[in-house]
Point group: C2
Chain length 355, copies 2
Amino acid sequence: MGPGPTNLSPEVIETFSRPLLGHLDPLFLEILDDTCEKLREIMKTESPLTLPISATGSGAMEALITNLVNENDVVAVGINGAFGERASEMFKRRGAKVFEYRVAWGEPLDMEELAAIARDQSAKIIWAVHGETSTGVKNDIETLGRMKNESLLIADCVTSLGGVKVEMDQWGIDALLSGSQKCLSTPPGLSLVSINARCMEHLVERPASWYFDLNLVADYVLKGGPRRYHHTAPTSMIVALNEGLRLILAEGLEQVIQRHLRASLLLARELQSRDISLFVDERFRLEPLTTVYIPQKFIENEAQIRKVLLEEFRIEIGGGLGPLQGKVWRIGLMGYNAGEESVGRLMEALDKVLV
Amino acid sequence: MGPGPTNLSPEVIETFSRPLLGHLDPLFLEILDDTCEKLREIMKTESPLTLPISATGSGAMEALITNLVNENDVVAVGINGAFGERASEMFKRRGAKVFEYRVAWGEPLDMEELAAIARDQSAKIIWAVHGETSTGVKNDIETLGRMKNESLLIADCVTSLGGVKVEMDQWGIDALLSGSQKCLSTPPGLSLVSINARCMEHLVERPASWYFDLNLVADYVLKGGPRRYHHTAPTSMIVALNEGLRLILAEGLEQVIQRHLRASLLLARELQSRDISLFVDERFRLEPLTTVYIPQKFIENEAQIRKVLLEEFRIEIGGGLGPLQGKVWRIGLMGYNAGEESVGRLMEALDKVLV
């Protein structure tokens, strides 16, 4: 119940007991095709270039940046937490001219201001995080999509996809990235990207990174392509991802999102009834990840409290990152864990520990 | 029984049924420390910077290149197969001045010639593949280590580590990379690197890649360091890797290598007794991966034969890559599969299919 990775469902765990498939085995390629198709369904997109990346979410960030940015390209980055900062750093290393729009950690991005910067600088790309895992803030990507003008909108949906509403095509997201280990409830180590047709026109022909070269990756991954070997796909991880996606679609994406919402509201109520204050205003709260102010009397030994929760109750919650270290806890209710039972278990434990 | 991934042992599979650990869980960090220690044992090195990389073997190649090469650095690359080619391409994308030494696919690198090029060009780095997965040739890294002069020697040990003798420190390898899915018999998706103290002095301070920035990765991974969060480690994959390494050390590294040798010799005898010729001279043969000429009468429908092997006998063997496509098959005897039983099963199947 930290900020991810989250627990796996038994069905996902079971996939690892199946014989390992080769990366060119026709059965695996079928599962890979089906995975890409299911990703499109969950991202709500028709983008042809929708696929898993053999690295974690930060690898997917880098894959998009290395494939879409040439030196001196102008980029506007919204920063209200660690993952906006990370994107900005990656753009700078890539040689882009980065215009940063910053608001305090815990506040949402004002999309009018971010869009104005992008417009004034004629930015090729606007980058914003949908669910800021470092703060628990949900940024309003839908509004940003309406205001992006000619820029390409890249949205980091690592802690939102499969847990809150994400509508890639309808919102005008041109490139989207996510991770396996949050609301999809599959093991950490894989990530996902989708790039729409407009964005594909901007793909760098021979990016500095060979490993993340999406043209080469797509030649192997995408159905109907040459299926040319690029690197050895993490087959068992992709089979697990496929099962995680199947479970979401079987339950119904809308139902899954509602379940995340209900769990999050219940958690908020339970915490507030114990005089634990929530860090983020409810209008901008990211349902899968709730940040709370550490109660004053426990601030000094907050790490010890998390240790006891983990060791005695087998519940992991996250500490704060960066400026929030020692100030907040981060409680995840993602995927398999997004339910009343998790909230109940945590409350029972907190009632014993916070005394 | 293709060129990897290979089958997992039951003990490795079992690890996936354990509860998923968080990447900052003290229990996981203990396993991570133990994994780095076991990697040192298997690589035969004291290098402090020895760790898993959250990407496949090609990701580890890129991690080393992005961390060790500045623009215009001079590099000598030995090329006798697809993975030497790949390294050269990665160096070029990084902006290095690459001097290629090529020999025919199926032949070993002449280390005197490669070392002479490096010396003549005052190369900062010499790159050579130990086990060329595309051809089944084993290059003589030990000899190259004696001849490297002032250059840093980087060895790609993806298809050798845990299957044939690799002595990082004694051979003078300055940086080594390997993958999880070959002789270590753990799932594809992870890779391993080790960098010695001499090589660490050349680490680029702020490499173009944030994801593969080894200084940042090490700050999280290495024992005694700040354990600063970098990216979400693929915890279940690392636990599986740890178990794979444990099994090798429990059996005894030397015994495991001997088992690979015996299996490979048996396979060679069995194939030759059926008039199937081996592609690589026995002096340079890579034990974990045997390449054979496809018998003349089956060349036209070689893909069909591999399909029948896979579908009816559940045995996967690999086709040829690049210039060897349609000419050779690649048969892996790696890790868990490196034994008489695998050879027997394959021969039984071949006797039915090759008629």
